[in-house]
């Protein structure tokens, strides 16, 4: 494969996955700029190592993003403490995780807030499953957990999100 093919490959991959990767990276950091830095670093490292990567390899990008994000947090403990402090930087001070067409703006904002209220382990699984379109097996590989663990975390995450976003359904029950 020549340089031009490799160049086109990563661009296609980027167009397909960049929004999802940034959304996944944002689970670990509070600012879009940091999330994009993480994606940049992971994406570049991935494509340098695997210039011939095919779509079936793309799920590895989520692993690369997660590893990069966790490395970043470990390297800078002060930063990690700041990220963990909800009062330090309001989630709402940044644009939402999702595109905000006028009719969906309110839902997008609610969903972004709801996601932040999930435990990290559930949030990772939910984001990878719903917006990353990964299978449970691929998620398990990305996170280094068993498929059963991932599947149950997903169910807990969905349930938690419904309680947050659709409290009326629970009030009715």
């Amino acid at each position: 494969m020549n340089d031009t093919d490799a160049h086109e490959n990563w661009k296609n991959c980027y167009r397909q996955l960049a929004p999802k990767l940034v959304l996944f990276a944002r689970q670990y950091v509070r600012s879009i700029a940091d999330a994009e830095d993480i994606v940049q670093s992971a994406f570049v490292r991935f494509w340098r190592k695997q210039p011939d990567a095919q779509p079936e390899h793309y799920p590895l990008l989520y692993t690369a993003v997660r590893t990069t994000a966790l490395d970043l947090l470990r390297k800078d403990e002060r930063r990690a403490r700041r990220e963990a402090d909800p009062s330090a930087e309001s989630f709402n001070s940044e644009p939402t995780f999702f595109q905000r067409e006028i009719e969906l703006r309110e839902e997008a904002a609610e969903l972004s807030v709801a996601l932040q209220r999930l435990p990290e382990s559930q949030r990772e699984v939910l984001v990878l499953r719903i917006w990353g379109d990964l299978t449970f097996a691929q998620i398990a590989e990305t996170l280094g957990d068993s498929i059963n663990t991932v599947a149950s975390r997903y169910r807990y995450a969905l349930e938690a999100m419904r309680k947050i976003l659709k409290p009326q359904e629970y009030e009715r029950v």
């Binding site: 160049h7 990563w10 661009k11 994009e36 595109q99 839902e107 917006w131 969905l158």
Partner: protein, 175 residues
């Protein structure tokens, strides 16, 4: 609402598009190296270490020594007499420059009679800090080193001039 409907509802919200700059930054980093200049931060050159500053000067000294060795070998080696660099006439009588075997025989009889060093230039250069964190001044001395061989039978001489450059670190306190 069942689980599947709720999942679809969530999927209906599309992740936000990253900034346009992200793709540009990635493109710059992944750009094929051949023939395309890479943009980005140009690293500041680090000041050369003490050893790497001295090594070039040592190279000069070494090349001078090698040149001198080659000259000596050329003068003494049989069959290579025609590589004698310069033969000057003796003080009162001149001798023709010989080549080939006869010159080799002559060269083998030559005895070194004089070695001299003429200081051509001395330059004070920058202040450095040595490994013991003491300030030192780098001094560069340029010499012409002359070796003279004389044939006792004919009185002819062979004189070789070798340029030399010595770099010396002198403690500042001693200046």
């Amino acid at each position: 609402m069942n689980e599947s409907e709720f999942e679809n509802e969530l999927r209906a919200l599309v992740p936000a598009t990253p900034s346009a700059g992200l793709m540009d930054r990635i493109a710059r980093e992944l750009r094929p190296a051949s023939g395309i200049a890479r943009a980005g931060v140009i690293p500041q050159p680090k000041p050369p270490r003490l050893l790497s500053r001295i090594l070039p000067a040592l190279g000069w000294i070494a090349s001078g020594a090698v040149a001198a060795l080659l000259v000596v070998l050329a003068v003494r080696a049989p069959g290579n007499a025609d590589t004698i660099l310069k033969i000057s006439p003796g003080s009162h009588e001149s001798a023709p420059v010989e080549t080939g075997a006869s010159a080799a025989e002559t060269a083998s009889d030559l005895g070194e009679v004089a070695t001299s060093r003429q200081l051509v230039n001395a330059t004070e250069e920058e202040l450095l800090v040595n490994d013991d964190q003491e300030p030192t001044r780098r001094m560069r001395f340029t010499f012409i080193e002359r070796h003279t061989w004389t044939d006792p039978e004919t009185g002819s001489t062979v004189e070789v001039e070798i340029p030399r450059e010595d770099v010396v670190l002198v403690p500042v306190a001693m200046q």
